[in-house]
């Protein structure tokens, strides 16, 4: 475990991120960071169920979407303070995860993919069909924006939102780091790799799966709430396949056995894609480039980006005897 070194690197990263807005006044760049933060939260929390617990949850973006709509409906329809509305997103997401976990806990491997995928489809269908509540395909716009006392986040070139996003990410990372170092976190890996053995050591396989799913939904949901409040819109595309595969690639490029890999991957990928978005007539090609890059990373370091960095630094383990 390169834990010590890793933690140090992370602390440094966050420190650096905290200073960015002081140098970067351009609201476009800040916006990119905010989006990256959101994706980082999604990916790293997804990794809890997907990577650590081996639950092939393809409905993770649904938790995000539920967070989005909760915040939207709470703040716009019921006029709840957007700060609260964001947090509510975490609550409803966790509840829905609990609901989903019931069937998933009993299923194995790829069957989980089907059920979770179906779950996301159900959610989408509900959102579309209940248009009087959710705005249907049109979505909900002009959601209330954040305010801190008299300070409005609206025309400050995203200064405020940047720090809210960063704080959210930091909290989520602490949460995950704590989990994965706890024996709960380790038990997840035990359940993932050897169910029977785990059960024979007093670990309830079903319970750990349910917990993993539910916990992974909390910050994802809050991130959804933040996303809605920040962009001031909730629209069904959040359930779309594009977002899902992007987040999934972040998880895998980052490395399924780490906590911070996906965070790193999210930052890198967001800016990489955006860097290419500028190039005219390159719109489709850029997706190909990303895909190829991802494959290369996976081939060079099947354990992910973090592992790759590790390889560069750590000397190889000497032979036994």
């Amino acid at each position: 475990m390169a834990n010590k070194r890793q933690l140090f690197a992370i602390a440094a990263l966050f420190a650096a991120l905290a200073f960015v807005p002081l140098f970067v006044t351009d609201s476009y760049i800040r916006h990119l960071f905010i989006i990256a933060f959101v994706y980082a939260v999604i990916a790293s929390n997804w990794n809890l169920s997907l990577g650590h617990c081996g639950v092939f949850n393809f409905g993770h973006l649904t938790f995000f979407g539920i967070g989005v709509y909760t915040a939207a409906i709470a703040s716009k329809t019921f006029g709840i303070n957007p700060w609260i509305a964001m947090l509510l997103g975490g609550g409803t997401a966790a509840l829905s995860a609990l609901l989903l976990a019931a069937p998933v806990a009993r299923l194995k491997g790829i069957y989980v993919v089907l059920v979770t995928f179906a779950f996301s489809q159900l959610a989408l269908q509900l959102v579309l069909s209940q248009s009087q509540i959710t705005g249907g395909a049109e979505g909900m716009v002009r959601l209330p924006f954040l305010q801190l006392g008299s300070y409005s986040f609206l025309k400050d070139f995203k200064f405020g939102y940047y720090y809210v996003g960063l704080l959210l990410l930091a909290l989520s990372c602490l949460f995950l780091a704590f989990l994965s170092n706890s024996s709960f976190g380790k038990s997840l890996k035990a359940v993932r790799d050897a169910e029977d053995y785990a059960a024979a050591r007093g670990i309830s396989v079903a319970r750990q799966r349910i917990l993993a799913l539910t916990l992974s939904a909390i910050f994802t949901g809050i991130a959804g709430g933040f996303y809605a409040i920040y962009l001031r819109v909730a629209s069904p595309e959040v359930f779309g396949f594009g977002t899902l595969s992007l987040a999934l690639s972040m998880v895998l490029i980052g490395g399924v056995n780490t906590v911070f890999g996906p965070v790193l991957a999210a930052l890198v990928l967001t800016f990489a894609t955006e860097a290419m978005a500028g190039l005219q007539g390159f719109e489709d090609a850029r997706f190909i480039v990303i895909a190829v890059a991802m494959i290369l990373v996976l081939r060079l370091a099947p354990e992910g980006l973090v592992d790759l960095l590790g390889k560069l630094r750590l000397p190889v383990r000497p032979a036994r005897t």
């Binding site: 351009d26 609201s27 476009y28 760049i29 916006h31 990119l32 989006i35 959101v38 269908q125 579309l128 069909s129 705005g135 249907g136 395909a137 049109e138 979505g139 909900m140 716009v141 002009r142 609206l154 025309k155 996303y227 962009l231 001031r232 819109v233 909730a234 629209s235 069904p236 595309e237 959040v238 779309g240 396949f241 594009g242 977002t243 955006e274 978005a277 500028g278 005219q280 719109e283 489709d284 997706f287």
Partner: protein, 385 residues
């Protein structure tokens, strides 16, 4: 100096075809303007920003990219998101933003406080005419004997998106009010539909005089037509928007001959409006394909901006330019174009953008209503007795 003209468009993903056309329209206009030596000493450069699958972050990011560039003078789009939420971002930064779709959404956002949106204008008029206009047109065809109606029944089917659903329900109301019986008003999920047979089976059990499909996705409409023709009923077929898309004809070939559709805000191709053919001609010459409505509309968007810029002179005075656009009243490819200050939508109707009814007659689009623009006569479809 060079003014950058942003294009917010779905260049990738399901709507790529539309997006490409939007970009082409603007680029074409930019070429023309630059050839003419620019406007008020300014030349132009088109900058495209892809909104992909139109998810909120993609649209917002693309918008931010354009807004972030000091040189951007205006942003054009057919449609970028389904909700038009980006209008707010534009207004906040007083960015000129011309839209050619989702006019209902635009109206909802703008009409709350029009003064805040002085730089945002929609070249598509309110869609209300889509709901109502069809009734008198059909009645007229019937009374004039050009169309023999077996009964006064109408069956509608829509897909689950604001546009299709809204229009279908609007039409249903209008027909009821006119004493028609609505035998079906089905709603299908939005997206690819490969099997209309379920709906058509029900239709065949009680054939209506009028069969209306408001799903605007051309592939779906084409499939609908093929499957209807497998065993047609004695009904006039009306399809919303889709038939105006160029490849619809290629896809359906002779199968589509006889169907009726209408258009609002698209090019009005008629002797009395030569501008339309002029623009379409240019587009064909430049890209040697037939443009749909977006190519033409975005070309005209740029021209409107250019006019306003010409009056104001200074591209950074966006408020004023916006105001100028709002005052515009000119004959464009879409007909007479002027804006309603309350909604910032183009005005619809005789003294604005007309609604046009077309019938496809062996591979050609024949405009038969309104009279002023008509280029031919309606003919009873072959499959009807």
């Amino acid at each position: 100096d060079v003014i950058k003209l942003g294009i917010l468009a779905p260049l990738t993903g399901p709507a790529a075809a539309d997006g490409q056309e939007m970009a082409n329209g603007v680029k074409l206009a930019v070429e023309d303007l630059n050839k003419a030596g620019g406007v008020a000493g300014h030349t132009f450069e088109a900058v495209v920003a892809d909104v992909g699958d139109a998810s909120a972050d993609k649209v917002a990011t693309a918008a931010e990219r354009l807004l972030g560039d000091q040189a951007t003078g205006a942003i054009f789009t057919g449609y970028a998101s389904t909700s038009n939420f980006e209008i707010d971002m534009m207004a906040e930064q007083d960015m000129i933003y011309l839209v050619s779709g989702n006019s209902q959404q635009t109206k909802d956002i703008v009409s709350a406080d029009p003064s805040r949106f002085s730089t945002v204008w929609s070249l598509t008029p309110s869609y209300d005419a889509y709901n109502t206009e069809i009734v008198p047109v059909i009645d007229e065809l019937a009374t004039s004997g050009k169309l023999k109606l077996p009964n006064k029944k109408v069956a509608l089917v829509a897909s689950d998106n604001p546009y299709s659903k809204g229009i279908a329900n609007g039409m249903a109301e209008a027909f009821k009010a006119d004493g028609w019986e609505v035998t079906q008003n089905d709603l299908l999920p939005f997206g690819e539909i490969n099997d209309w047979r379920g709906f058509l089976a029900k239709v065949r059990q009680d054939p209506p005089a009028l069969l209306i499909n408001t799903d605007y996705v051309s592939a779906n409409a084409a499939t609908f037509m093929r499957q209807f023709m497998e065993n047609p009923t004695n009904s006039l077929v009306f399809i919303q928007y889709a038939p105006s898309v160029p490849e619809f004809l290629e896809l359906t070939k002779e199968k589509s001959s006889g169907i009726v559709y209408n258009a609002l805000g698209g090019a009005v191709r008629a002797a009395s409006n030569p501008r339309a053919d002029e623009v379409i001609g240019k587009y064909k010459a430049a890209y040697n394909v037939e443009p749909g409505s977006y190519g033409v509309m975005l070309y005209e968007q740029v021209m409107l901006y250019a006019d306003a810029l010409g009056k104001v002179g200074d591209p950074s005075k966006r408020q004023e330019i916006g105001a100028e656009i709002g005052k515009a009243d000119k004959q464009t490819a879409m007909g007479r174009t002027r804006f309603d200050p309350a909604t910032h939508l183009a005005v619809q109707g005789k003294d604005g953008m007309p609604i046009q009814f077309y019938q496809i007659q062996d591979g050609n689009r024949v405009l038969f209503y309104p009279k002023e623009y008509a280029g031919g006569e309606f003919k009873q479809p072959v499959w009807m007795k």
